[in-house]
Every structure is written in C-alpha cells, then in structure tokens.
Homo-oligomer: 167 residues x 3
Amino acid sequence: MTVDDLLVIHQITQLKYRYMRAVDTQDWELLRTVFTANARAWYDNGALAAEGRDGIVAMLSGSLRPTLYSSHTALHPEITLTGPGTAKGVWRFEDIVHFAQSDPEFVVEAQDGERLIGAGYYYDEYALEDGDWRIANTGYVRLFQARERQPLQAEFEPARGRLARRA
Amino acid sequence: MTVDDLLVIHQITQLKYRYMRAVDTQDWELLRTVFTANARAWYDNGALAAEGRDGIVAMLSGSLRPTLYSSHTALHPEITLTGPGTAKGVWRFEDIVHFAQSDPEFVVEAQDGERLIGAGYYYDEYALEDGDWRIANTGYVRLFQARERQPLQAEFEPARGRLARRA
Amino acid sequence: MTVDDLLVIHQITQLKYRYMRAVDTQDWELLRTVFTANARAWYDNGALAAEGRDGIVAMLSGSLRPTLYSSHTALHPEITLTGPGTAKGVWRFEDIVHFAQSDPEFVVEAQDGERLIGAGYYYDEYALEDGDWRIANTGYVRLFQARERQPLQAEFEPARGRLARRA
C-alpha cells in the first residue's frame, strides 16, 4: 500500500459522495457525471436494474420522484485497487425515504406519510474514463428494510439540501 | 491533488469530528476550541444563527439542554482547499434528538418523549488560526425533519458517551 | 503528522470496517481475524464483556442470533498513534437492531417485531500482531438507546448483505 494508492482511494470516495449527493438532492445533471458510458446498476437486490449512463439516470430520476425525500448514506469504505485504472469497493449504506404523497409505483408501494428505513451493502466497481474515476458497476444487497406507517409529522425542505436553492 | 493536501484534509476531518463530539457529549469547553474567534454559524436554515466563538457556544449550549439527548453524524466529506490556510467543505448529516422532558424553547417545540429525526447538508468554511484548523463558518440546509410522537421507551446514559464520566 | 501516519490510520479504519461488516453479516470466521489473541471487549457499558479472541467471538455469536437483523455504523474516527505498533481510537456509532422473533436473552429483553435504536462512542485500542493491525480492546459508552414497540412491517434479506449468498 503506497501513498499513490491513498490518493486514488480518496478520489474514489469523492466520486461516491458526489453520487450520493446527486441522488438525495435529485440533481440529475450531476448524477450523469459519475457513471461510465456503459455502467451497470442493480439496486434493491436487482429489483431496479439498468445499463448505460442514460438508462441508469432515467431509472433513478423516474423512481426518485419529487414527492419523496430520501437520505442515503454510504459508510465503511473498503476499496481495493484491482489494476491500472480499475478498482472495486464495498460500502455499508443506510437509507431513509419519506413519502410526502402516495407513490404506488415505487419499488415497494408507498402511502402518503409512510417512511422506509433500510440498510445493506453496496458492491461497486470503478474505472478511470475520460480522465476521471467513475462508477462502472453498482448495486446492493440489503440487510433489511422496514416500512413505518404510524402517522409522521414531517417537514420537507423545498431546497432539498441545496445551498443554491436556498432563497 | 498532493499528499500535503491529503494531510490537510485529514486535519479538517478531525476538526469536524471534534466539533460533532463536543455537541453530542455537550462538552462546551471542547466546543470553544473548534471555532475561529470571528466564526459564524447558521443552523436549521438560519433559524439558529450566531456570530463569534462566544456567541456560537452560548447559542448551542443554551439550545442543547441537559434534558435532550442528541446524535448528530457527519458523513460524505467533500473538502476543497481554497487558498493558503483556507478551505471549504460540504458534508451530509443526520440528526436524532430525544427529549427526556418537554422543551418548549427548542427550535421546534418538543414534548416529553418525542424524537426528531432529520437530514441535510452542512456548508462549512475552515481557516488556519493560531496554528490549528478551525471552523470559520458553518450552517446547514435540511432535506427533511420528522417529529415522532409515539411513546418511545428510551434509556438515557448519564455519562452521555464520555468515557471519563463512566464510573 | 506524516504520510506514514496516514497510511497506518487507513489500515486501522479498514480493520474497523471489517469488524463492523463481520458483526452485521454475522460472519464469525471474519470476526476472528480482527482481534488480538488477548483482546478485551466491553459492550453496552460493560453489560456484555469478554476476554480473549475466542471468548469475544463466542459472546458476540451467542448474542447476535440469526433471528435478529442489526445495523451497526462507525463514524467520526479520531485515531491516535500511541507508539510503535499501538494506537487508540474514538468512534461515534449508531445501532439499529430488528427482532424477527422474541429474544428474551438479548441484552435488553426483546419482543418479536421490536426495534432498538441507539448511539454512543467506541473507545478502542489497536495493536500490530502477526503483521496485521488488530483490535486489542474495544467497548462503548452509550448516549441513548430507544426501544420501539409499534408494529413494524419489516422485510429481512436472507443474504444478510452478503453478495456471495445472493443466489
């Protein structure tokens, strides 16, 4: 393990954090920049899968509607460099999704006011493409997902976490 | 990006973790050490704002009462060095606040037994002052905040996470 | 603080993430590799304590039954090198434990469908042994632990987050 390896690992963590930020702020332009052209994604044990940058962005922007407010966190990066310009990584994640309106087409049918809380592990592959580290393959296997139906009194922030959208 | 940059970024993450620890263990002496003399803070989209190290510590120690038990976590550091001795950073956070007693003066009026769960993004600025990296400006924009009123059966640890306070 | 220190700190974070992954995927073989032969553990303010690698693995594998699904996350590493081949670290953690069946012998008696949500700080010691960094002493002091009894509609993933167990 060398200092150059540490620098690459740092770049890959930054890539992952940009991806997570794009998802929760619903910044689909930013999301496009994190994938390789031929990337593959298989979320929720494969229930949501797509190929190619355009296909993945279309799937995520279609699934993560403006009426839901999500928090996906990625932790415990175990990143391994597998060759020149390739790497893989395992991450823990937790996700919380609040539904401000019913969303019958979500991965699990969701009612207005519900909340999903889940956890699992991402299994990622990364590649250098056009000079930047990008996600070539990403998906996850869950530990659990719990649906909470007690009435929640939730406030949603229209800025959705973005500084530039704050008046 | 150089190894020296990595070392600075490491120092800044350590600063942030010290800040988070001071808040949740309610260690106001430790909290004083993390801010520049003229720091600014704007929490909860600006609902809680203060200027100057003394003002920020007074605001936080006044708001985070001994009767609440909080867990603030900072994740996904995206730190950029902006000049000699200055840097900025974006972090995801999640916060859980348990109220062991009613707290009508909290940012949102809180009843005994309630819990708040929220998420958002910190937008920070850091500066080298008196030889150490310190927080010069910090605040956050939320994604959401949910208030939970079902009766919780919670146990609070008098040591509040501090080893030295454990008998 | 040097680059070599950064490399050691990186190794120690990898060790901790392996430990966390072993616990939540209930991979007891992996868990054995993270401890020194004479390690000590004191979980939940000492309510669960054991000495020696074998004793700790026996205690954890006995307590974390197949009928519970846990998510333990470690954050905010503050790691200090204390000598040649020794280090210590403070980490924030959060834990969520879902009980798919009643578990009267858990640290707190748990009913079918219950969930525990807690937070606190790990206080760890690490040592180089047989060429690898290992945990020599670990334990935690809580901030709080809440027990939730509203009926949860939870789905548990038999693969328990492991890629290799996914069909």
